[in-house]
């Protein structure tokens, strides 16, 4: 079971739309896929028309009184299931602090290995106990970046944050999100960063209204508009991200 986490310290960078579309593409390839909506806002759950509610809340899940398995819901798409968000996830750090603080998410996912080939964790922004948990659990951190100077700073911060981790560290794979090719700054930043950091995927996700339309259609853009530029971009991105990272790009352990 390979665990991907869409994560960024910054909010509003396209984490959820990426998680939803990439999980959908993974399932469409025939991999049994689970998406865990860890964001209390429940955007991913909303996009799959699933109520952002878990019986017993985050507390029951983290404490293990409610098994993860029972909370999982089938999406409308073959091979893709979702573990919905719950508003109680807003207190996730407190809940985790009571358990094994930084390894709990990894521990909870372990029993699902027989059932799923791939798990996507859609994380809320920020650096928190939850994000530490996610970094411990994930094999690959998928980091969406808006091509701005500030975003680059956050990528550096995140890379350092991961590099400081003891033991097993996830692979960090960044990609540009909400790209507006009409903007000179976007083009320049993309050009420079692609030249400097090979951890950044060449394919970026353009800023297109069809992606915003996901909240109206409540489905991955790759499902309801598969022939659009946005859907093509997600497919190309997934092809790059799911390919193995060249060895030299892996952070040293």
């Amino acid at each position: 079971m390979k665990i991907y986490a869409t994560y960024n310290i910054k909010g509003g960078v396209g984490k959820t739309t990426a998680a939803v579309n990439l999980a959908y593409l993974s399932a469409a390839e025939g991999h049994r896929t689970l998406l865990w909506d860890l964001d209390p806002q429940g955007a991913a759950s909303f996009l799959f028309r699933i109520k952002p509610r878990v019986k017993g809340g985050g507390k029951a899940l983290i404490r293990g009184t409610k098994v993860l398995d029972d909370a999982i819901k089938g999406t409308d798409f073959d091979g893709l299931d979702l573990l919905p968000a719950d508003f109680t996830y807003r207190n996730m750090d407190l809940l985790l602090a009571d358990a094994k603080p930084t390894r709990r998410i990894a521990q909870l996912l372990k029993p699902l290995a027989a059932e799923y080939d791939r798990v996507f964790l859609d994380c809320p922004p920020g650096i928190s106990l939850l994000s530490e948990n996610v970094i411990h659990a994930a094999d690959v951190l998928l980091v969406p970046l808006i091509p701005t100077t500030l975003s680059l700073r956050t990528l550096d911060q995140l890379t350092e944050f991961v590099a400081d981790f003891n033991g097993r560290r996830p692979e960090v794979r960044a990609f540009f999100s909400m790209v507006d090719r009409r903007k000179k700054l976007h083009r320049e930043i993309i050009q420079d960063l692609l030249a400097e950091r090979s951890m950044v995927a060449p394919t970026g996700i353009p800023a297109l209204s069809i992606i915003e339309r996901m909240s109206v259609e409540r489905a991955p853009v790759s499902a309801f508009a598969p022939r659009t530029q946005a859907a093509r971009a997600y497919r190309a991105l997934w092809a790059e991200l799911s390919a193995p990272q060249p060895a030299q790009e892996r952070p040293a352990v």
Binding site: R49, I50, K51, A71, K73, G74, D76, D78, D81, R218
Partner: protein, 550 residues
């Protein structure tokens, strides 16, 4: 993902797809699927799921041996030709997959021996089970599968309705399709079990919709007036204890004639060796019935037809003998110690050539007017006996079937006990061969009248008898095979088709057969005592005393 919650089928009156239509309150639907959707509509949003996994058209051909070996083992073998390629799929009776393999370039139109299937896990799984029988196409269906989403007010899919609309493809001179009752499945979406239960409940309450109780194969066969495993080479005649003896005997003989005729085509097409085997068993049983019970038939039927069935039996012997040699060839070659299996190859080739020649003679005879006249006239005569036994035309002295069964079986058992009891270590082999014939006659009598006996007691008696017959069979067959190999060696020498190594290997085989015969001879006393000793005699007495008892 989506485990099937419950399977339903539409009412199958008339056997047509449209036959399930029933009045659903105001919604009298000409299309039964429409009625189903109307019943679900108040509870769910319904939309077609285009391109859903598993949807589309599926053409399937079921395969089994003529005697339904896969069905009897609880298996179904299907050949599917779909867009993604053709494949062979082996499932358990409840649909659980057992094995699957691609079948590119293979067609199920003609019978195939299991070893001639493309290599793969399906072939590996069934080759032992089905051999030496060929796999025949049983029936072909075409199923259009459509999937409908059942959604909640948020538009979320909470269950699925899977509609399987199948039709049967009938080949022959006038190819046509016959609709089968549509099958509906409510599939659960993970995390929404209550909604699936609700949908299933709504379907279950709908008139004309019932839980599925049969497989699609059974449904397709039913539409053809058949059922799975509808062939057996057993006697299984429908007789009763009170039936007048001539009627019972005619009924048994008609059943044997059915089996003979069911196998005729397979023999003539040389599909596999067991068609001839089953045909020969029917002929042997017929001859035994004529000999042991023919006196209750009117006129000179027994005298007239006895020699004709003897002719038929003799006709089939050379081919069957060669089949037996060829079927046992791999085992024979495997057990060679001094010689190598390759040494036997000229012998195998010689047997195969002889078999082709003998088969041509057999086929010519079975296509002759004599054969057709025999079966046609025999049937006509037996039907007359069976149907002419009404009260008015019944002869006064007719005894009931149970009495006939008891007297004849007791007499046959008496012969077995007395002749078997007289056999000593010094007795000639012929005395054992003769006893084998008497045992066969007894076995046939027991089988003819099996419906009149207590099944448990019957099983025990026949079980012991079978063991004795196996022992006597081993004894005689070893001798016959040895003599035949000797004669074949002479013929091979005469035809200059016998290298020295082959003759030596054949000699080794005959030595092994002699050992087998000796072992059978040594085992005889124990087997005979088990069947015909005091306890065995008591069992047969009890069996016969209770014949026809309710």
């Amino acid at each position: 993902m989506t485990p099937d919650l419950r399977d339903f089928e539409l009412d199958r009156r008339d056997g047509e797809t449209q036959a399930g239509t029933r009045t659903l309150g105001a919604a009298t639907a000409s299309d039964p699927i429409h009625a189903v959707l109307e019943a679900l509509a108040p509870a769910f949003g319904i939309s077609e799921e285009r391109g859903a996994p598993g949807s589309g058209t599926r053409r399937r051909t079921w395969l089994d041996t003529f005697d339904w070996r896969l069905e009897r083992a609880g298996l179904e073998l299907t050949y599917e030709n779909a867009r993604r390629g053709s494949r062979l799929l082996l499932t358990a009776w409840d649909g659980t997959p057992q094995a699957e393999q691609p079948a590119a370039g293979w067609q199920p139109r003609r019978p195939s021996l299991p070893q001639d299937l493309p290599p793969g896990p399906v072939r590996d799984r069934i080759v032992q089970l089905a051999s030496p029988r060929a796999l025949l196409p049983v029936v072909t269906t075409s199923t259009t599968i459509s999937v409908k989403r059942l959604t909640n007010p948020d538009g979320k899919t909470v269950a699925r309705l899977i509609v399987n609309a199948s039709s049967l493809t009938l080949g022959g001179a006038n190819p046509r399709t016959l609709g089968l009752p549509a099958r509906l499945t409510i599939a659960e979406v993970r995390g929404y079990p209550a909604q699936a239960r609700r949908a299933a409940r709504l379907l279950a309450e709908l008139p004309g919709v019932a839980p599925v109780t049969t497989t699609l194969l059974a449904e397709a066969l039913r539409a053809l007036g058949r059922r799975p495993a509808d062939y057996t080479n057993g006697v299984d005649a429908e007789i009763t204890a009170e039936m007048p003896a001539p009627v019972a005997v005619a009924t048994v003989l008609l059943r044997l004639l059915d089996t003979l005729e069911q196998n005729t085509c397979g023999v003539l097409r040389d599909i596999d060796t067991e068609f001839l085997h089953d045909l020969r068993v029917s002929v042997r049983r017929t001859r035994a019935a004529i000999k042991l019970l023919g006196d209750v038939l009117p006129g000179d039927l027994a005298e007239q037809y006895g020699p004709e069935f003897a002719w038929l039996g003799d006709l089939t012997t050379p081919t069957r003998d060669l089949d037996v040699h060829l079927l046992g060839f791999p085992a024979m070659a495997e057990h060679l110690l001094a010689a190598s299996p390759e040494d036997l190859e000229p012998f195998r080739a010689f047997l195969a050539r002889r078999r082709s020649r003998e088969f041509r003679l057999l086929a010519t005879a079975m296509r002759s007017p004599r054969f057709r006249t025999l079966t046609d006239h025999w049937r006509k005569a037996l039907v007359e006996v069976r149907d002419a036994a009404g009260p008015r035309r019944r002869r006064a002295r007719q005894i009931p079937a149970a009495d006939l069964a008891v007297t004849r079986t007791a007499r046959a058992f008496g012969k077995v006990t007395s002749r078997g009891g007289a056999i000593t270590a010094a007795s000639a082999p012929e005395s054992l061969h003769d006893l084998r014939k008497r045992c066969k006659e007894l076995r046939y009598l027991l089988e003819f009248f099996a419906p009149l006996y207590d099944p448990v007691a019957y099983k025990k008696v026949v079980g012991d008898l079978k063991q004795l017959q196996d022992c006597l069979g081993d004894f005689q067959d070893s001798q016959i095979e040895r003599e035949e190999i000797h004669a074949l060696a002479e013929q091979m020498l005469a035809e200059r088709a016998a290298p020295a190594a082959t003759l030596l290997a054949m000699g080794e085989i005959t030595a092994k057969l002699a050992i087998r015969q000796e072992q059978a001879r040594a085992d005889f006393g124990r087997r005979f005592a088990a069947f015909a000793g005091p306890e065995g005699q008591r069992r047969v007495r009890v069996l016969l005393e209770r014949a026809g008892a309710p």
